[in-house]
């Protein structure tokens, strides 16, 4: 009846007469909008505030404050605590995940471990710090650990309490992915257990292990309530000092200092991410 719907080539496209399909990028709009609203916009506010003085004028010299030994101390504190708790959490969590994976895949123990890990990975803040305080603190029920208030050991121990379960959750699927046939094949070729882990298992798991460790690092970096309940008469890490800079009632409050510290954290994450990507590239070399 009509040829209006034909194209140059004379073939009717399947959507003729209907709305043309949306271009592929439309699907990413919600995600990009989310990133823009919850990541880019707040980051922008932080950057702008960090580079202004209290009167609202630009003050790029604020950046030099990051070199101030006092400010640097908070970053070193954050780095120490995150490194300690993420390395300890990743190693112990990986071992635990391996132990769980080697059991019955549908067994009660495994299901119990997974659900307990799911709960404990989110257990933190005042409750956790208080639990440790009354167990091994100065007047602890169990005993008094003399190093309980030593930074970063005492708080590092508390952090590993939620870091290990998180690592188990994150790392277990990777261990499950190790096929038993690979182990059999390497044993058939005459490898020892050490050689299997050195040349087969280890390289296979390395990228997932590093990814998990990085997640733990970021997790520790942004944790605040736990350390604040552990002690809050001294600021050891950046989030504590941000809190002081936001809420000081003795005249030391400065939104600009708080923003600068937050910007410093962003830079710190960027550096850690870069190192992670380089390590990941090295660890995943055999994939290419």
């Amino acid at each position: 009846m009509t040829v209006a719907a034909t194209t140059k080539t004379g073939v009717r496209p399947s959507w003729a007469g209907r709305r043309p399909p949306a271009p592929a990028w439309v699907g990413t709009v919600p995600f990009l909008a989310y990133v823009a609203v919850f990541l880019l916009w707040p980051t922008g506010i932080v950057v702008v505030n960090a580079l202004k003085n209290p009167d609202g004028a630009w003050a790029f010299s604020n950046f030099s404050e990051l070199g101030n030994p006092l400010i640097r101390g908070y970053f070193i504190g954050s780095f120490k605590l995150c490194l300690l708790s993420s390395v300890a959490g990743a190693v112990l969590g990986a071992i635990l995940a391996y132990a769980v994976a080697s059991g019955d895949p549908d067994g009660l123990i495994r299901r119990l471990y997974l659900s307990v890990s799911g709960v404990l990975a989110q257990f933190g803040g005042v409750t956790l710090a208080f639990a440790f305080l009354v167990t091994i603190g100065p007047v602890g029920l169990l005993f008094h650990a003399g190093w309980y208030f030593d930074f970063p050991w005492g708080i590092g121990l508390i952090y590993t309490y939620f870091q290990i379960p998180l690592m188990v959750l994150v790392f277990l699927p990777a261990i499950d992915g190790l096929k038993v046939q690979w182990r059999e094949a390497s044993e058939n070729l005459g490898s020892s257990s050490w050689q299997y882990w050195r040349y087969v298992g280890g390289p296979l798991l390395a990228p997932a292990f590093l990814g998990g460790a990085l997640l733990l690092f970021a997790n520790a970096l942004s944790a605040f309530a736990t350390i604040q309940a552990w002690e809050n008469q001294i600021a050891y890490i950046v989030p504590q000092q941000i809190s002081t800079a936001m809420s000081s009632e003795v005249g030391l409050a400065s939104v600009n200092e708080a923003s600068l510290l937050a910007l410093g954290l962003v830079i710190m994450v960027a550096i850690v991410m870069t190192v992670y990507v380089l390590l990941q590239r090295r660890a995943a070399r055999w994939l290419r």
């Binding site: 009354v134 100065p138 959750l169 699927p173 997790n219 936001m246 009632e249 030391l252 994450v269 992670y276």
Partner: protein
């Protein structure tokens, strides 16, 4: 925010490489972690996408937005037919107490902020006010700091939820006078001149003296140096970080004065806490009612009204004030100049400064805090004498830190505190 950043970056890196990776487990592992982080978001998303009522959702959301928009625009200017209480600087100028009560009742609500119910008897004070005038008191952020109160006044300016009145530390009051409305309560002349702003922008309300509270098991403390002995191992705590909390700064200042320091130089106090740290007696847990009850902060430097055994709730809790050191501190009241309930705000101040037996001044006193009109009430005989007799006694000339002394101490602490006790 950083959690989000890290999670996204991990999502990117895992997703980007997942396609050609023989170990299929790793990327799902990463995504699971991300999913854990965004578990709540997923629930909400499903509710929106799957629910057959999603249009109803949108409709309700829009209606709520409209309603809040309307209420905020209609609430302003609703008070009083002829008198605008936002501009009145005293009750008599506005037509007397009954006019104020009527206008406040018409507003029906009072927004207060950062008033812990167990602090200086505020729980009872709020209840009494609500019952007496039939006005609903909307109390937000009970454990907030003075700075957070001021931030709320700024950030919620114009909203019906903005705080009507604030109860803040003096240094914060002095730094933010442009946010406040001048007002003189009926008992204005009973407030000592040094404890109020001449134009009525702020006026001190209640306060106390720094004291050291401790558990009975330590015997009786008679001097500060005893705290350095081994029996106080891991016991001595402050109420917060002295670079952030006023009570903690004054705790260090108390040690400073007892050690022979002056109000303008806090270094001897910091040196004392450094010694405490070195002998292992410093306890870095911030003292709260819970830590004191649990016995994890058995010795606390704090205001005397927070150190009363009735407040602390620990049997045999004792208080020590170094002899000759009377370090005082008062909080101040102020009215938000853009208060959403201007009449209720002024009625609240009249109530707080009332010397009646169930007025604010005596209620504070019953909570162990010294009301600012204490002296006038003692001579007029309106004070609750049994409550007054329970206050810890202090000796010596009272010292109140001036603005410059307080900021000098804060500046010194900012650079030296962490080094001394970290």
């Amino acid at each position: 925010m950083l959690n989000v950043l890290a999670a996204f970056t991990i999502a990117f890196s895992a997703g980007g490489e997942g396609g050609n990776r023989p170990s299929p487990a790793a990327p799902p592992g990463m995504f699971r972690a991300v999913a854990i982080r965004f578990g709540m978001g997923k629930l909400f998303r499903e509710a929106l996408v799957r629910s057959p009522y999603r249009f109803a959702f949108a409709g309700v959301a829009a209606a709520v937005l409209l309603a809040t928009g309307c209420s905020s625009s209609s609430s302003s200017g609703s008070s009083g037919s002829s008198v605008n209480w936002a501009n009145e600087t005293s009750v008599s100028a506005g037509g007397g107490m009954s006019a104020l009560v009527a206008a406040a009742k018409k507003e029906g609500t009072l927004n207060v902020i950062a008033l812990p119910p167990t602090w200086a008897n505020y729980g009872t004070i709020i209840n009494t006010f609500e019952k007496k005038y039939g006005i609903n008191v909307n109390s937000t952020l009970p454990d907030g700091t003075s700075q957070q109160e001021v931030d709320a006044v700024k950030q919620e300016n114009g909203s019906p939820k903005a705080p009507d009145v604030v109860d803040i530390g003096l240094s914060i009051a002095l730094a933010n006078t442009k946010l406040f409305a001048p007002y003189e309560v009926s008992t204005w002349s009973d407030i000592p001149a040094a404890q109020k702003d001449p134009s009525g922008l702020w006026y001190e309300d209640y306060g106390g003296y720094m004291a050291i509270g401790y558990e009975a098991k330590f015997g009786t403390i008679t001097s500060l140096s005893q705290l350095l002995t081994p029996k106080f191992k891991g016991a001595v705590a402050l109420n917060g970080n002295p670079t952030a909390a006023n009570a903690a700064l004054n705790g260090v200042m108390l040690a400073n004065l007892a050690e022979g320091g002056t109000p303008s130089d806090i270094s001897k106090g910091v040196a004392f806490f450094h010694q405490l740290k070195q002998v292992g007696n410093f306890n870095p847990v911030s003292a709260t009612g819970a830590t004191i009850k649990a016995g994890s902060t058995p010795v606390v430097f704090d205001w005397d009204y927070l150190n009363l055994s009735s407040y602390v709730g620990v049997p045999g809790w004792k208080v020590f004030v170094p002899s000759g050191v009377a370090l005082g501190g008062y909080y101040a009241q102020a009215i938000n100049k853009n208060a959403p309930h201007p009449a209720a705000a002024r009625l609240w101040e009249e109530f707080l400064y009332s010397q009646a037996s169930t007025g604010g001044q005596n209620l504070w006193l019953q909570g162990g805090a010294r009301p600012v009109e204490e002296q006038a009430m003692t001579s007029a005989g309106t004070i609750d004498s049994s409550a007054a007799s329970k206050l810890p006694s202090v000796s010596g000339t009272p010292v109140f830190l001036s603005e410059s002394q307080s900021s000098a101490a804060a500046t010194y602490l900012a650079t030296n505190w962490a080094k001394a006790v970290g």
